[in-house]
């Protein structure tokens, strides 16, 4: 089934009876070349690129819930490439380029909207730091524009420019930054992988990883044993538990991050905006809801819901920055489980077990990484060589201390990112 404007017109005129399910619902076979544990955004894009770029289609994606039910369906949908450090910089640049061709590649409307992202700054020191970051982005080949106070006022006239405690000094505009429809990204990759022959197996939880003499042989699941030549772990917040099935302890602590959405409003916030003096970022969805979030709750959690002090903090930060949103009613809040690493940067690497691969540590920034994570992880699984854009995401960097990517400069320690 191909999507096109003509097709939508035809279906609209004939009662929309011609649409079919976007992917099959197969039972697991007893053996695959590659088994991917985790049917989230990263797992689905890994499967897609294995099939599309490497011709590997004897692949199963095992998802314990349903497709699109995890973090890929519960994030704030921001897409950007404004990282500073080598390693992250080239990776997110690669990812943004994949985003820009994604709808054509998948023949699927993921509603990628490059509306521009503005990170505000509120002091001379912050201005210097953002100017430096902007230069790093330009050096990487991406775009950045340093706005002064009047420049920001032109884009965001609704900010509280009279705030004397946190004055708006300016902002770093990343014009190619923006948002995308998170569910559609999962669905588009799922459909693309399925149509190339990948089995997407839902309601199938992995309960064990079979290893013989240091070589992976397959997995045990709630739907029976499945043999595999290669097994890939892509399970975000659950990485600790799945890695433990292979006898591994990994540098990940799972935390909860909350997000919020208001009732639908007429268009008022045209960009993605972040506050530099309190952890707060906001955009407006195409349905009209204001989608916003803040910092982690800052304690280990698997609850998929947070506590009220952080809710209060996020609301206070929002009201400080843009008092106009005060009368909007919050419809929903939710929490996602973030796989936090000590330096705040991800891991895409082989493990000590032959044929077992690990993709995790996406912290609170996994959504924008979905295309490149799958692209680079598929490259690693298919060729056993690191993709150039992700070759610094090594598991052993914590042990050696070489190649840590600590964007915040707070130190490679749990609880500091």
């Amino acid at each position: 089934m191909r999507f096109s404007g003509l097709r939508i017109l035809k279906e609209g005129l004939t009662g929309n009876r011609g649409w079919t399910p976007h992917w099959r619902d197969p039972a697991p076979k007893s053996e695959y070349d590659i088994v991917i544990i985790g049917g989230g955004g990263h797992g689905l894009s890994t499967a897609y690129y294995l099939a599309a770029e490497h011709g590997l289609t004897n692949v199963a994606v095992l998802e314990k819930g349903y497709i699109g039910g995890g973090n890929v369906g519960r994030n704030t949908t921001i897409v950007r490439a404004n990282y500073f450090l080598p390693g992250n910089s080239e990776f997110y640049s690669h990812s943004l380029k994949l985003w820009e061709g994604l709808e054509e590649e998948l023949n699927y409307n993921v509603m990628h909207s490059q509306r521009g992202l503005i990170n505000l700054f509120h002091s001379d020191g912050q201005r210097d730091a953002f100017a430096r970051r902007g230069n790093a982005m330009i050096n990487q080949g991406d775009d950045a524009v340093l706005l002064d106070r009047e420049g920001v006022r032109k884009y965001l006239p609704y900010l509280d420019f009279d705030n004397v405690r946190f004055p708006v000094y300016g902002g770093l505009l990343h014009p190619r930054g923006g948002t995308a429809r998170h569910d559609a990204v999962a669905w588009g990759y799922a459909r693309g992988a399925d149509s190339r022959g990948v089995d997407l197996i839902q309601n199938c939880e992995v309960t064990g990883i079979d290893i013989e003499n240091g070589v992976v042989k397959g997995v045990q699941t709630t739907r029976g044993a499945i043999r595999a030549k290669k097994v890939a772990m892509v399970v975000a917040g659950r990485s600790g538990q799945v890695a433990a099935m292979a006898g591994m302890r990994i540098p990940v602590e799972s935390h909860v991050l909350q997000a919020f959405v208001t009732e639908g409003l007429k268009p008022c916030i045209d960009h993605v905006v972040s506050f530099g003096m309190g952890h707060f970022y906001i955009s407006q969805s195409d349905k009209g809801g204001l989608v916003f979030g803040g910092d982690l709750d800052m304690y280990a959690s698997y609850a998929q819901r947070g506590n009220l002090p952080l809710v209060e903090h996020v609301m206070e930060a929002g009201m400080t920055l843009m008092p106009m949103i005060g009368k909007a009613k919050v419809l929903r809040s939710w929490g996602g489980i973030m796989d936090m690493t000590p330096d705040g940067s991800p891991i895409i690497d082989k493990t000590h077990v032959e044929g077992l691969y690990l993709d995790c540590g996406w912290n609170y920034g996994g959504f924008k990484a979905v295309p490149a994570s799958g692209n680079c992880f598929a490259h690693l699984i298919a060729t056993d060589r690191h993709h150039a854009a992700a070759e610094k995401f090594r598991l052993d960097r914590f042990r050696s201390g070489v190649g840590l990517m600590d964007e915040e400069g707070t130190g490679a320690q749990h609880n500091l990112h």
């Binding site: 302890r249 602590e253 304690y299 280990a300 609850a303 609880n415």
Partner: protein, 87 residues
């Protein structure tokens, strides 16, 4: 979440600073090697369920606590002074 500090009684979560898993109490020998130190500094059990953690009563009595907590339900099961937990 409310944590019952052994010194101050039941207090709001905002008075406390979360450090990490209580492995920090088991500091290895300085010469133990990078494998042991990597294990201590970075690698975590990260359980979904009951875990032991270090919390600091920052705006209270400044005591370090070992808190036993469920990471799925957020239930606080126990809180003792770190100095006693170590002994």
């Amino acid at each position: 979440m409310r944590i019952t500090c052994p010194i101050c009684g039941e207090r709001d979560r905002r008075e406390f600073y979360y450090k990490s898993a209580a492995v920090a109490l088991e500091r290895p020998d300085p010469e133990a090697g990078d494998g042991v130190w990597n294990d201590y500094l970075h690698l975590r059990e990260n359980p979904a369920g009951v875990t032991r953690e270090l919390w600091y009563h920052e705006t209270g009595c400044s005591a370090w606590l070992v808190v036993t907590r469920n990471t799925v339900s957020h239930e606080i099961l126990d809180a003792v002074l770190a100095s006693e937990a170590r002994a």
